[in-house]
């Protein structure tokens, strides 16, 4: 069965500092990988996705993620965070040619001035 682990429940970062959110997955083959962001009271917005090819994926809002097969990881990064990046971030994994997404428990990001 597929599963997703986000080891950090909560991260606090200063505005302008870099951010890295960790995601590890368990799956028998290379899955589809996603990062979603959820602002308070809102639904999930897709930041980026990895299906195949280049292991460094660019997304919206200046985010990028790197797929490392050897480490079963798909960490999300942003070089310089803005106050508006304060939100909850979810990593998700889905089997190729299937619809069923498994989500991690999420990482809450707080941005301090």
């Amino acid at each position: 069965a597929q599963s997703v682990t986000q080891p950090d429940i909560h991260i606090t970062v200063s505005e302008g500092a870099s951010l890295e959110l960790r995601c590890n997955y368990s799956y028998g083959a290379t899955p589809y990988l996603f990062w979603y962001v959820q602002s308070p009271g809102q639904g999930l917005q897709l930041l980026l996705k990895y299906f195949s090819g280049d292991t460094l994926v660019q997304g919206i809002k200046g985010f990028e993620a790197e797929f490392k097969r050897s480490q079963s990881s798909f960490n999300l990064r942003k070089p310089s965070v803005h106050w508006s990046d304060a939100a909850e971030y979810f990593c998700a994994v889905g089997p190729i040619n299937d619809y069923k997404l498994s989500f991690g428990a999420g990482t809450t990001v707080t941005v301090r001035a």
Binding site: V4, Y32, F34, Y36, G41, Q42, G43, L44, Q45, L46, K49, F51, F90, A92, G94, I96, N97, D98, Y99, K100, L101, S102, F103, G104, A105, G106
Partner: protein
Amino acid sequence: EAGVAQSPRYKIIEKRQSVAFWCNPISGHATLYWYQQILGQGPKLLIQFQNNGVVDDSQLPKDRFSAERLKGVDSTLKIQPAKLEDSAVYLCASSLDGGTGNQPQHFGDGTRLSIL
């Protein structure tokens, strides 16, 4: 394009009462999903529709939860009777196909349900 619409945004009921949520997916999206998101957890899939047919309802507590998607567009999710553990945000999502390939799932803002 207009996003996934859900209503109501908030609902407070007492246990053993019934409640219904409504979802209107993005126009043209064949696949519709209902997720349950309990506080502090990621969303969990309850049911998936492809047009007006159920593809997967393996995680839907069928003794109290029901869902339908008449005419393959709008969908309703119902809980009857509600239990305290049903307190959660109920998210609706849609995608052009089965949510794979280049067709990711798009989420609505959810309905926050509180059971007293």
